[in-house]
């Protein structure tokens, strides 16, 4: 999967499946500084992923205040040809003032053993042929 540099940061496209519906999520940041994977609420609402009464809530606290997100188990998160089934993600507003629809965090990157190849600008996975 090609890494696209924007704002000096590496972005990929992720395919997300929820309750049988799939969407291509563009402009997802590959972020080893984030423990968890997050998607933008406006994007995932297109496949019917919206808040439910009993969702687990998190407050993500850092520089410039806190943001409230909810978590949800999705059917599948796929990058290129590498997929993880039944994966818990966070959903938040992600109103950060630039084009970003998600964060691929360390939970996905370590689970898949992802290799961030900045020499060739590729996100690679050891058990997938490139």
């Amino acid at each position: 999967m090609r890494l696209t540099l924007k704002y000096g940061l590496p972005f990929v496209t992720v395919a997300l499946t929820y309750r049988g519906k799939q969407i291509e999520v563009l402009h997802v940041l590959v972020d080893t500084g984030s423990a968890r994977t997050t998607f933008a609420a406006d994007v995932v609402a297109q496949i019917g992923l919206i808040p439910e009464p009993e969702d687990a809530l998190l407050t993500v606290r850092g520089v410039g205040g806190a943001e409230v997100v909810f978590t949800r188990m999705v059917d599948r998160v796929q990058v290129g040809r590498r997929a993880v089934e039944q994966f818990e993600v966070e959903i938040g507003g992600m109103d950060y003032g630039f084009e970003i629809n998600g964060i691929l965090g360390m939970d996905f990157l370590t689970r898949t053993g992802a290799i961030i190849n900045l020499h060739q600008l590729q996100l690679e996975f050891p058990d997938v042929e490139t």
Partner: protein
């Protein structure tokens, strides 16, 4: 108000609430005093309203919640955020 009072006053309702007093215990955010900011017709409206208020008043502590939740049980996590360069394509 405390959470049980909010539940009693707004049964079966999506709300945007604000924590007037809150503290952190370990990785849990405990809301001690709550006020209801807005009653919303559905989940999407509640989250949108939360986002608008959060953008407008970033230092205040808002949440979008449904009153059927037994407890608020909010987990707190640290994140330093994204540091990008100003150039659109760097």
């Amino acid at each position: 108000m405390r959470w049980p009072d909010v539940q009693a006053a707004y049964p079966g309702q999506w709300l945007v609430i604000e924590a007037l007093e809150a503290h952190t215990e370990g990785n849990r955010r405990i809301l001690d005093q709550i006020t209801v900011v807005e009653a919303c017709p559905d989940a999407v409206t509640a989250m949108q309203t939360y986002r608008q208020l959060h953008q407008q008043y970033p230092l205040r502590e808002f949440y979008f919640v449904h009153t059927s939740r037994v407890s608020l049980d909010i987990e707190e996590r640290r994140w330093v955020g994204i540091r990008r360069s100003d150039a659109a394509y760097a």
